[in-house]
């Protein structure tokens, strides 16, 4: 494989693996800035090593092992520094012993949740949260994020600059609902940015919907008993199912009742309806997303001149 192919493979792997790599690094080293630095180092090392030795059979595993090594190394050096400072300040001479293996290996679900909470941190503006989410959780580079929001690259860089000091922490039970709500808001905003686009390259905009859908699926799988997360996903899958039918041949908008139903995405409809069933099983609709999701199929069915689905209100 030549250098260009290796670079392309590493770029693809960044997209696929970097959120996971970054999430774990952030948990282990504690702050986003260091985590991002070590993640970059991991992938740069990959390019260097693989140009010599070729791409390994399991590149993902190689990346995770290397990231782990870099994290452990950074912590050891940090501790050594701290120990030296303590000795110099004539305080306790004992170093801190970590069980590093225990520290480094953790649950991927918790790591990803932590990453999501960092990206949607309350200290950031809504614009910054969206940009940071696309960057960290979706693995998009700054240019791709900039193209997605139709702004110049430096604007995105500016938006995320405050994020550097954010620390990895899983919010306690009191703050968790609000923090999850903030992430859902990011996902829905990104989806709507793509769904309601009236300007810009339409190809870019459906990409935004796709990212939002993936984020929605990720969040739903991380919080599988949260009816609002499930509701959000069901809602955007049902809305996205009509994306291809919403514009006519000249790009003009087509109303729901006039849409060509063969252009509706039936896989997404099935998934959306399955999501609604799961919400029902969990106790029904209580929050705004779950409610909107429950109504979504009715809009479509009400427009059918034949059968009309009875919308069954669920218990509050």
């Amino acid at each position: 494989m030549n250098a260009a192919n290796i670079d392309a493979t590493v770029a693809t792997l960044w997209r696929v693996e970097s959120p996971r790599v970054l999430a774990r690094l952030a948990r282990v080293v504690g702050d986003l800035d260091t985590a991002e630095e070590l993640a970059q180092d991991t992938f740069v090392t990959a390019i260097e090593k693989w140009r010599q030795d070729g791409v390994p059979d399991n590149p993902a595993a190689w990346l995770h092992t290397t990231a782990r090594y870099l994290a452990v190394d950074r912590i050891r050096r940090r501790d050594t520094q701290r120990s030296k400072v303590r000795l110099a300040a004539a305080t306790s001479p004992q170093g801190v012993e970590h069980d590093l293996a225990e520290l480094v290996d953790g649950d991927l679900a918790d790591d990803l949740l932590g990453l999501i909470f960092m990206a949607a941190h309350p200290i950031l503006s809504p614009d910054a949260r969206s940009a940071l989410t696309l960057k960290l959780v979706c693995g998009l580079d700054t240019e791709a994020v900039a193209r997605a929001f139709l702004v110049p690259g430096p604007t995105i860089a500016q938006r995320v600059v405050r994020a550097a000091n954010i620390r990895f922490e899983l919010p306690g039970p009191a703050e968790r609902p609000a923090r999850l709500a903030a992430m859902r808001e990011v996902i829905y905003l990104v989806f709507n940015e793509g769904y309601s686009a009236t300007s810009g390259d339409s190809w870019m905009r459906t990409d935004l919907c796709a990212e939002a859908l993936r984020l929605g699926r990720m969040l739903a799988s991380l919080t599988p008993h949260d009816t609002e997360s499930l509701g959000l996903l069901a809602l955007i899958e049902l809305q996205a199912s009509r994306l291809k039918a919403r514009t006519g041949p000249d790009g003009e908008p087509v109303l729901l009742m006039d849409q060509d139903r063969t252009r509706w995405d039936h896989l997404l409809i099935r998934r959306g309806l399955a999501g609604l069933e799961r919400i029902d099983q969990l106790g029904g609709t209580a929050g705004p997303y779950a409610l909107q999701a429950a109504i979504a199929p009715c809009h479509a069915r009400a427009c059918q001149r034949s059968l009309c689905m009875m919308w069954r209100p669920t218990s509050p």
């Binding site: 996971r20 990409d207 984020l215």
Partner: protein
């Protein structure tokens, strides 16, 4: 874009030999991680070919044959549909699954969507 990732049978699977507990645990963990990645749209596994059948058409004549069929590695073992941005991405997902499940072959094919037909 959607890609269908089809993995082919191992001889063990064809012989109804269940994977070891470790492999099963690893596969479960992989499916959990795949769900977390947000790209998994659907997927199914299939039983060994002895539970299935084959329709062969030669010169318009139809022959129905009951499984099992020889050549485990020519037989599909299951599929997943992934929502990714490129063939390369689908391949990286397929690669991980292939190594995990111990199959010799995973095919990655792009799914035809409505607008591709226009």
């Amino acid at each position: 874009m959607r890609y269908m990732v089809m993995h082919y049978q191992t001889q063990d699977a064809e012989d109804w030999i269940r994977p070891s507990p470790e492999t099963r645990a690893a596969i479960e963990e992989y499916m959990r991680e795949a769900a977390m990645s947000g790209v998994l749209l659907s997927g199914e596994g299939v039983f060994p070919s002895s539970a299935g059948a084959r329709v062969e058409v030669t010169d318009g004549k139809v022959r129905v044959i009951d499984g099992p069929f020889a050549e485990a590695k020519e037989l599909i073992g299951g599929f997943a549909i992934l929502d990714v941005d490129s063939l390369d991405e689908a391949v990286e997902h397929a690669r991980k699954f292939a190594l995990l499940v111990g199959t010799e072959r995973v095919d990655v094919r792009r799914v035809v969507e409505a607008e591709d037909l226009r």
